[in-house]
């Protein structure tokens, strides 16, 4: 019996389904009181309609990469420059800028910024988050302070952790390998009516790089343990509460790098290791007023504790009050005098020369004596953050996102701030998404920020997407963004009080080192202007996603001076320009094969040479993931960059894994081989390995 559908009715029916009164009276259309879940406020733009360039690293990719930490994963993002100061100090920058200070990218974990409050860097190794707890990473390639606040200058890395409801049961994992690799992970997830919770504990250890360019053992190993608790509660059908607590403790080795200023000093310390502890807690309350209106309130508290006490040696003269006075008068003159203390007094003003004479006299009466003492370079930083964000769907085609954010930052360091320093920041933001018709989508917004230490700023952003079809879109984006100078750059009050001096200097066991540096205090924000043209398309027949981007970014008022305590004068006098193109392709060739490719061409120019160092002109990655059946899988990746801080980087990674189903459990055994294809150090001349390859194995049990 076939009568076919009665044609005029379905349209009426749809009206009924989407809220009309008729559905309630229809005995046959289900009357279950289902909540509207994917509401207008929850649904995001389809990939082709995203107002910018986005790279999503999904859990399959993260697992297949075999990466042990987040910076290594970010090599999969086109334009991302991953370098290392040392083995336990990775630096990641999008498109480039300074290799030592990666501070122009916003990094968030479930919406909480992990930027350090005082010294605005991201300590990737110290983030209290295990790779195994990451569900996916969304990288917004380009500035977006409107959505993510100041510091989202060049890119935003948004790390999303696994939902506790998806992590029930037990997971145990160990990884062992060459270069001292020794990682472990254990998690337990559970649920009850209306809630879920996951507890995970993990640890990580490795030796870092093997040797310096002088062939000496490189002191850059790390050891850490982490704790993390994540929970979600359904408070009511329209309200939920998520909270997280995490902590990390560990030790990061640092080599002794102090070079004595004075002639004849041979004694030295042996390290400047750091004991690093990170604590974070956040809570988020989500409320759906109705399908068209939702709001969340998120509060977080974080604390970064870096204990760094190390022993340094120099001549007793380093503590001369007269030399200190001379430094305050003329740092350049004082340094000349100190470095050539046995030479005649350099030419200067009468006052300088008089002081220099006194200092030289001190040298001859015991000032030359070697003294060693403890330097306390520890810092404690704290941040409290409160954000309210409201999403309102005004019509089917118009959506307004707005919010307010309050942040309190505090940094405590005798060495860097001569005590403590705090800052408060208020932020207002709003963004409107308007779908003019089925092809045109206009999204624009602005952020107003007012920081106590660095003043106020207003940054606009506008993007136009043209959807050729729903799966193929062209975009044009103009955005401005700012980065507030951090407390260190702007307000550093840098001096070393050296304790436990032995022998005493000038009769004191604790004295101030003569070099003192102060930040300018009046730095402005760095400003970025970014222009982008792009295309995003999904070819459904081939299961191929393609994203292309052309960009031209300019940063003005750039603070580029290296953070060194001799003659540190930060200014807004520098600028940089980045022009280029990027491509990203993800092709599920068959159900068993996935190919992925990224490439970035970056033409970087910067007024300060240091800001050009980490921009590889050509960089990219290529990957092939295959499921061979019978539990076997493999992943082969290639990463390449023609010059990171002047050094070529090329590496091939192979991961082979076998999944074994046991009774009510699953075991995965995996082997990972990383083979360097070049013979160069890794982004710095001291970063050398004994061998061009490393091998590590992991076993993971889930039940």
């Amino acid at each position: 019996m076939f009568f076919g559908p009665s044609s005029p009715r379905p349209l009426l029916l749809l009206t009924a389904l989407l809220g009309g009164p008729a559905a309630a009276d229809d005995l046959f259309v289900d009357s279950q009181a289902l909540p509207e879940v994917l509401t207008a406020t929850r649904l995001k733009q389809s990939p082709a309609a995203v107002p910018g360039s986005m790279t999503v690293l999904d859990s399959e990719l993260i697992r297949a990469s075999g990466a042990r930490d987040i910076p290594e994963l970010l090599r999969l993002v086109p334009g991302m420059m991953v370098g290392y100061i040392a083995g336990n100090q990775p630096t990641v920058n999008y498109h480039g800028s300074n290799v030592n200070d990666a501070r122009r990218m916003q990094v968030l974990i479930d919406g909480r910024s992990v930027y350090r409050a005082g010294l605005a860097t991201v300590d990737w190794s110290d983030i209290p988050l295990a790779m195994e707890d990451i569900e996916r990473i969304e990288v917004f390639r380009g500035p977006n302070t409107v959505s993510y606040g100041a510091n989202a200058l060049m890119a935003v890395v948004n790390i999303l952790t696994r939902n506790p409801a998806d992590s029930h049961g037990t997971r145990l994992k160990v990884t062992r390998g060459q270069r001292g690799i020794n990682d472990w992970y254990a998690s337990q997830g559970m649920g009850w009516d209306g809630g879920d919770l996951r507890l995970s504990l993990s640890g990580m250890q490795d030796d870092g790089f093997d040797e310096t360019h002088k062939g000496l053992d490189y002191r850059d190993s790390r050891r850490l343990t982490r704790f993390s608790l994540s929970a979600s509660h359904a408070l009511a059908p329209d309200q939920s509460l998520d909270w997280q607590l995490s902590a990390k403790e560990g030790a990061n080795q640092r080599p002794y790098t102090y070079k004595p200023v004075f002639y004849g000093v041979t004694a030295e310390g042996d390290n400047s290791d750091v004991a690093a502890k990170d604590y974070a807690g956040s809570v988020r309350w989500n409320i759906d007023f109705n399908p068209q209106h939702s709001l969340y309130v998120q509060g977080s508290a974080q604390h970064w504790d870096r204990q760094q006490v190390w022993r340094a040696c120099d001549a007793a003269l380093s503590f001369s009050p007269q030399l200190t006075q001379l430094w305050q008068l003329n740092p350049w003159y004082a340094e000349q005098l100190a470095r050539n203390i046995r030479a005649p007094v350099p030419t200067g003003t009468a006052q300088e020369q008089a002081l220099a004479g006194e200092v030289q006299a001190q040298w001859n009466v015991g000032g030359y004596q070697q003294v060693c003492g403890d330097i306390d370079q520890s810092t404690r930083e704290t941040r409290y953050d409160l954000e309210i964000q409201d999403t309102l769907s005004l019509t089917d085609n118009l959506r307004l996102l707005s919010g307010v954010n309050y942040r309190y930052d505090r940094a405590d360091s005798q060495t860097y701030f001569n005590g403590s320093l705090d800052d408060t920041t208020w932020r207002l933001f709003g963004q409107l998404e308007w779908r003019a018709d089925e092809h045109w989508l206009i999204q624009g917004g602005a952020m107003y920020e007012d920081a106590h230490l660095s003043g106020s700023s207003l940054t606009p952003r506008v993007a136009v997407n043209y959807l050729i079809t729903p799966r193929h879109g062209l975009r044009a984006v103009y955005s401005e963004a700012v980065r507030s100078p951090d407390m260190f750059e702007n307000n550093v009050n840098w001096s070393y009080r050296v304790n436990n001096l032995s022998p005493t200097a000038f009769g004191q066991g604790s004295a101030e080192y003569f070099v003192k540096t102060r930040g300018p205090g009046n730095l402005d924000q760095e400003r970025m202007r970014s222009r982008e043209l792009g295309y995003n398309g999904f070819f459904a027949d081939a299961d191929l996603t393609l994203d292309l981007k052309l960009f031209h970014d300019e940063i003005t008022g750039m603070v580029s001076e290296p953070l060194r305590n001799n003659q540190y004068i930060a200014s807004n006098s520098n600028q940089a320009r980045f022009t280029g193109s990027e491509v990203q392709a993800d092709w599920r060739m068959t159900h068993a094969d996935r190919l992925r490719m990224t490439y970035a061409y970056v033409d970087a120019w910067a007024s300060n040479a240091d800001d050009r160092r980490l921009s590889a002109r050509n960089s990219g990655s290529a990957g092939w993931m295959r499921d061979w059946g019978m539990g076997w899988s493999s992943a082969l990746f290639y990463y390449g960059a023609d010059a990171l801080n002047g050094y070529r980087f090329e590496r091939a990674d192979l991961r082979v894994a076998k999944r074994i189903s046991l009774q009510r459990a699953s075991l995965e055994l995996a082997g990972m081989l990383q083979q360097r294809l070049d013979h160069e150090p890794t982004s710095s001349y001291d970063n050398l390995y004994d061998s061009r390859h490393v091998l590590y194995f992991s076993a993971e049990l889930e039940f």
């Binding site: 019996m1 076939f2 009568f3 076919g4 559908p5 009665s6 044609s7 009715r9 379905p10 349209l11 029916l13 749809l14 389904l17 989407l18 559905a23 309630a24 009276d25 229809d26 005995l27 046959f28 259309v29 289900d30 009357s31 279950q32 009181a33 289902l34 909540p35 509207e36 879940v37 994917l38 509401t39 207008a40 929850r42 649904l43 995001k44 733009q45 389809s46 990939p47 082709a48 309609a49 399959e60 939902n163 409801a165 998806d166 029930h168 049961g169 649920g191 009850w192 009516d193 879920d196 359904a234 089917d396 089925e438 079809t469 729903p470 799966r471 459904a540 027949d541 299961d543 159900h591």
Partner: protein
Amino acid sequence: MRWLRCFLLLALFWPLAPLMAAEILLTGSADNAGVQHFVTALSAQRPNDQVRFVPLHQLARPGTLKPATRLILLDLEALDWRLTETAGPPALVLRISRVQAEQRLGSLRPPFLTLLWSDPPADRQLRLTHYLLPQARRIGVLYGENSRQLIDELRQAARPLGLEIVAQAWPDTRDNRALQTLLKDSDVLLGLDDPQLFNPKTAKNILLSSYARQMALIGPSAGFVRAGGLASTLSDQDDWLAMLGQLLDQPTGKWPRALYPTHFSVAANQQVARALGIEAIDLVAAAKAVAAGEANP
């Protein structure tokens, strides 16, 4: 062509149509606006018959009813009542799903019952999936204790369409691992009308998890489409009235043991389609395309 088919079928059934007025008795435990609306519509459709609704608690044992009564059961309580004894007129059972039948009856199919399935048929849902997402090959299906029996049927229906059913048991709906595993291995999720798996408590989880992977949910019901599923086929009151019109014209002896409605329409969530990068769904065209694939008897 369609008109010709209709005419032929009409010609076939014409001689079977009763010339005398029949008594059509509807019953159910609930007497609400929906029931009244349906009874009124059925009365209007059959002016020559005596159509009446009697609430279940007012009815005596089934065996006391006149054998010529055309009995229509509107809910499971009414079914339970009819099952209390074999004696009594044959009944058309409306608003019963395959999963509910499995729970109540197991494999038993009493000869005095005609089960009119309320859940969308597997092959129709698969054809809709294939029509909306032609590139999707692996169809993820969650099943429970009572819906396990549907998997084989789904597999059979999938084969001619070149689709693969990836079936995953979901014994504990508070534990998402089964859902996550399935989402990892499939291109689209097809929901079975199994209230143990698809209910207001699990809806949020299923829809948010699949959307996080940019994956669509087809079915299991109009409610799920409204909640955030992409689309589903469904049969509403008008479809069922048309269906009943044919059955009531036949002598009860010709009633089949079980039947899916041949009349249906398509419901879709256009907002979700847009967020998944799918063209706006033309409901009429979708229903026609799906109907075009229905096997003729």
